[in-house]
């Protein structure tokens, strides 16, 4: 099998909450199964010039987010094409917001999103910070840490990634967290997200392999450490 190509968008500007942990987790879990991976980064002014098998983008500071919003528009078409091909995507926090239709900043400025997710986000003066636990029909219980003031509203026909058991998620009232749209995931969970949620990591890898081998079914790994770390995180207040 050819190596899976991982595209990391704006790693220099959107990398605030241990986002590299997600890349580390994906590549190590591929390695454990004998799947080779290749890492690519594309930042401002760099074109998405080929087909990738996984797309990842992390969270950033407000300034980082504002600085890439315009450039992301130039990548919109290529990213939509990837999404249409069912390429797995993981977008965290600020990236999740910009993959929606738009993001209104605390100053009232509207940053256009690329509309892969049918969702909109508005900054508020309430910061949602803390450990968060959600329940997903697809992935089971997921755990992470959230730190955002943006409230995301899922528009008609969108499915959340999960329902909130503890914490805030998309907003303090909605009890929903993130979005799951085909193979694309948006979430406020970092911590890093994937290492303590290996079911999601494996879903992404499985979807990526299926792009070339539709019948592929991913095998299990020994995840006792992942599960133990996740269990402890769930019980932290």
């Amino acid at each position: 099998m050819k190596p899976l190509k991982i595209l990391h968008l704006y790693p220099d500007r959107m990398n605030i909450y241990g986002d590299f942990g997600n890349i580390i987790c994906l590549t190590q879990r591929m390695k454990a199964r004998g799947i080779k991976s290749q890492y690519f980064s594309r930042s401002i002014g760099e074109e998405i010039d080929q087909d990738f098998d996984i797309v990842f983008m992390g969270g950033g500071q407000d300034k980082g987010q504002a600085s890439i919003a315009q450039d992301l528009q130039l990548k919109s078409r290529a990213l939509h094409e990837h999404h249409m091909r069912n390429v797995p995507m993981l977008t965290i926090c600020g990236a999740y917001q910009l993959f929606g239709k738009y993001f209104i900043t605390a100053e009232g400025e509207e940053l256009p999103g690329i509309g892969i997710f049918n969702a909109v986000t508005k900054a508020t003066d309430f910061r949602m910070i803390g450990n968060i636990v959600i329940k997903s029909d697809v992935f089971g219980e997921l755990v992470g840490f959230e730190n955002h003031s943006g409230v995301t509203e899922l528009l008609e026909g969108s499915n959340p990634l999960g329902s909130v058991i503890k914490g805030f998620g998309n907003s303090k009232d909605s009890k929903t967290e993130g979005i799951l749209q085909g193979s694309a995931i948006g979430t406020y969970l970092h911590g890093s997200f994937l290492p303590k949620n290996p079911t999601v990591a494996d879903f992404i890898i499985e979807q990526a392999v299926r792009l070339s081998q539709p019948e592929y079914s991913i095998g299990e790994l020994d995840d006792w450490l992942e599960n133990e770390a996740s269990k402890i995180a769930k019980n932290r207040s």
């Binding site: 220099d12 241990g18 590299f20 580390i24 300034k63 910061r127 450490l225």
Partner: protein, 460 residues
Amino acid sequence: MRKSIAINSAKLARLAVSAVGHEGTSLPGLVAEKIDPGLLAKLAKNNFSKGVIVVTGTNGKTTASKMIADVMQSQGISFIRNQAGSNMPRGIITTILQNSDSKGRCEADMALFEVDEAYVPAICLQLKPKIVTVTNLFRDQLDRYGELDSIATSFKKAFSSLDTTLILNADDPLVASLASGLSKKPVFFGVSDYTGETIENDNTADSIFDSENGEKLQYLQRYFGHIGIYTSKVSKFKRPTPNVELVKMHKLSKSSSNFDVKTSTLTQNIQLKLPGLYNIYNSLAAYAVCKSINIEDKAIASSLASSKPAFGRGEELPFGKKRLQIMLIKNPTGFNQIIQTFLKPKPQTNPVLFCINDNIADGRDVSWLWDSALEDIAGYQGKVIVSGTRAYDMALRLKYAGFKTAKIVIEPDIEQAIQKLLGSIKSGQLGYILPTYTAMLKARSIISQKSGHLVKGISQ
């Protein structure tokens, strides 16, 4: 009236705290602050005729403050200072009250305060310091401090209204950018000669962008994180020429360093009995501060030569024939500096204990572990133990960095973990403890009890 009630209540609170046996570091200040919110400004106004010095920044506050204190002490300067960790308004109020009479009058000519980044604007506006030094600015406990850019913006705003000499790290672009638009010329310190160990998997460069226009800075050399020699391709922004400059590095090791520093008056050799590049930066900050209060270069150098590590920041504690070295870690850049200085150099055989807690003072969010360069030491030969409330998170981080899971000892209980660490240290050998803040306090007190040595209290 309110001021005197506040002062007396605080003094009572301190007595009460002392009576139950704890060193009251912030409760008295908290009481006083509640009664009179403007108390700090009032206390500062009639005190410290020769000025207040504020030391802030993400890493190095405590060590740089201690170095400055050592130099000031050697010169017989009369000053007071806060204790490590008591670096919020209430801790500073407590420090002043502890050293003052019932009217809030303090005999000291000067005050030296290490200040938590989040409180720099509030404290500076009240204390009106003569000197503020910023050691560096890195991502740190985002759940507590918020974003780095907003910290920098709040600093800039506060400094612009003050008549303060800023002493800034020239090699940190975000810190250096604090100088723009100031009426008073800042003093810069920096390192112009470095060829030591570097981190390969460095994900901690937060501010590699020109703060004016967001363009990526060009680095001629990067030492760690976003620290190095940089220039903007599009604007006039570049690394300022340091006024206190390391011009020649002779030696840099796990335990000491030797280098030449050039100032406006002379170039002289400095011997430092502290490890790593990060402590060299701390010493340059201290040098620049002391020079700004007119202490002679020679006197600064001789005092720095005898500076010892601050509380929990590389201090070595004897344990029978074994030795333990405690190195506080609290953010990826600091962690990487410890990796670069202690864990990366071969033969990598000292047993090491990582104690990761996630209490409020540690930061609740442990995602910073994933930004730390554990990949750089994936082949570490010595015993590895993980502990603390997030022991399993640390174990997981090590697993994904390439450590063999079977070799990692997981012991969430810190006391048990220290016991296991001691069991794997050979006679005469040094074991490392890398704790977060609350784990550091715990580890120190456990070691103190176990060894029978009196490990000095909260002070340094």
